[in-house]
Symmetry: C2
Subunit: 210 residues, 2 copies
């Protein structure tokens, strides 16, 4: 094992430090957040920080650095109050990643990257047509993380759209059946394959069973 | 696509609702948090919510529901101020998952599940010997998420231990080289394989390139 301590990685230049710190805590979720501006320009941005917060009520959170590219996402979702979360599949990782480029506000990342927009009846928020799991979310609150000035945005899950083949009888969504990827660091996209679902762990279980 | 809306999933019983909401936002990181009590009892608990917050300074966050099993993790890390984060590999998913059982405070999950504790020179926090990426973290702060009463714990990364074979020249850690898994929902463990690392996205790139 190599040991890199804080005083060492603080001396690294920007890109290696981003690579190291972004990849050291494991795989991240791979989603595109879809929004629309009050002028009707659709926006799409890749996010790897969307995390489950609780199931009752159904909540998620994500981290936003107000000074970087997805700031259009933030202004749009504050204006409309809503956004979509769209799982990234193996078949469109390149166009999904391209949404992280710094396009001007009047350019839609859907058009710029060739991702197909899907409009659902009665909903004014854009979805990613190719995505096998899509969420409609409602902005609830935000917490400033004073240690580095990022925002932790909290939202409720209002609707879940999922390919029928991925939904099991007990309502678990098997992500690999939709080719959903995970993110390794800033720029690594990984395909995944279920090893197994494990039973609820009980303290009195015979140790030989695991 | 099936559409499940909020009024529908609020009627589901506890387990299906947990399955659905925990699996709908993609893959999660798979780590064991190691701590020790002031009485010297080591503790280990699986966490799927550890998320990158920023690289300068190097920060991570995770979500803690004070009323569920990993409460020993919380009391320990508040007492000592430190904890370890240990990546879960394919070779020990069953014993890692077993740490989620509700063991009494005087029982060490290391002993109960057969995971080998590693003590590093000069550090009083336990690590997982089998883990190919290990972090020493320092508690900094916590934010109560008022929407559901969970805690968002913020910590700095003090040291990173990584298998040399996983560390690339630009300091990116290739997780699949260490067999690091990701979590699908509450109980699904998935192996991963790198598809590709994509170049930094630029707005003026020819669309045919992605």
């Amino acid at each position: 094992m190599i040991c890199l301590d804080k005083s060492y990685f603080e001396t690294l230049s920007k890109v290696p430090r981003l690579n190291l710190i972004n990849s050291c805590m494991g795989y991240k979720s791979a989603n595109l957040i879809g929004t629309v501006s009050k002028d009707g320009v659709t926006n799409l941005a890749v996010f790897s920080s969307i995390t489950h917060l609780g199931s009752d009520p159904a909540l998620l959170g994500f981290i936003l650095r107000p000074t970087t590219v997805p700031r259009h996402t933030y202004s749009n979702l504050r204006e409309s109050g809503y956004f979509s979360v769209n799982a990234i599949s193996e078949s469109f990782i390149r166009s999904a990643h391209q949404t992280s480029a710094n396009y001007p506000k009047e350019v839609s990342e859907f058009e710029a990257t060739g991702i197909t927009v899907e409009w659902k009846q009665g909903i004014t928020i854009p979805f990613v047509d190719q995505s096998p799991v899509q969420l409609l979310c409602k902005y609830l609150n935000e917490y400033t993380i004073h240690e580095n000035g990022t925002l932790h945005v909290i939202a409720s899950i209002e609707k879940i759209y999922v390919n029928e083949s991925m939904l099991s009888d007990d309502y678990w969504i098997q992500l690999d059946k939709g080719g959903v990827v995970s993110i390794n660091g800033l720029d690594g996209y990984a395909k995944t394959e279920l090893l197994e679902r494990l039973p609820y762990a009980r303290a009195n279980k015979d140790k030989s069973a695991f």
